[in-house]
Amino acid sequence: MSGHEHQDYTGAKFGMWLFLFTEVLLFGGLFILYAVYLARYPKEFVTAGSQLNVWFGGGNTLVLLTSSLFVAVSITALRRGATGLCLRLLGGTVACAALFMLNKFFEWSAKIGHGIYPGSAHLRELPPGETVFFNIYYLTTGLHGLHVVIGAIVLIWTMALIKTGRVHANDWVILENAGLYWHLVDLIWIFIFPLYYLILH
């Protein structure tokens, strides 16, 4: 690596945004699935949605919103030269990711314990609308959970780059792009939470 490495911040950030648009369309497809079946089975969706625990969903909403705040602030901290604060904030975000997945583990364990999981005998006995609700619930929150794990790994990698001095106050686009990915994870959950956990009427 020479000292005159070419940098294109706009290009790097724009590339990340283009990738995020494909992610929006990916999850958009799953939300369309939700919308079509909600229109077809409104009563069954309420029955099934009322069985999801608002405390798990709401708690995880607070965890993700706070983790997004940490990432946003970490960029300001790095650019102001507060590297230690930046690393502590990113560590906080990774802790939030772990807390989110722990909540998800308990939530899914309880549901699976009640015989509610894709392909289960109990789910097949339920009316078709409820079966569909739980199937797309597992698909959407499962894919989202995978994004949480990937986002946490990317942030840990970014922390390593900050510690070795590869990412610093004058060259932070990797942190910025990792942060954009993390905010997308938050963004998707902002829609998952009310649509799946708050469908009570």
């Binding site: 945004w17 229109a39 706070t66």
Partner: protein, 97 residues
């Protein structure tokens, strides 16, 4: 490092903190509204509040407010494609006999 100058906008901590407070308040509002039976309006209220929340996240946390026009146009194009995707799907499923 001259290229960095055009990206020199540093968002203050305070802005991020206020956005976070607004996001928490909107979360409380969406939970409260869901307890009231508004019929089909419940889902529209939920989507409306979620849209406001995501606008805050995109504009401030994701810096879109401070990006060049190209970024904003690209975002609009992506959202338009999503809207067409949703619209075309419903033109199909709502009018099946």
């Amino acid at each position: 490092m001259s290229e960095n100058q055009e990206h020199a906008h540093i968002v203050p901590y305070r802005t991020f903190f206020l956005v976070w407070v607004a996001l928490l308040a909107l979360t409380a509002i969406t939970v409260a509204v869901a307890q009231v039976n508004l019929g089909p309006l419940n889902v529209w209220a939920a989507l409306g509040i979620a849209t406001v929340k995501s606008t805050l996240v995109v504009a401030y946390f994701m810096h879109m407010k401070y990006e060049a026009r190209l970024f904003k146009l690209a975002l609009l194009a992506a959202l338009a494609i999503l809207a067409i995707f949703i619209g075309m799907t419903f033109l199909d499923v709502l009018y099946r006999s």
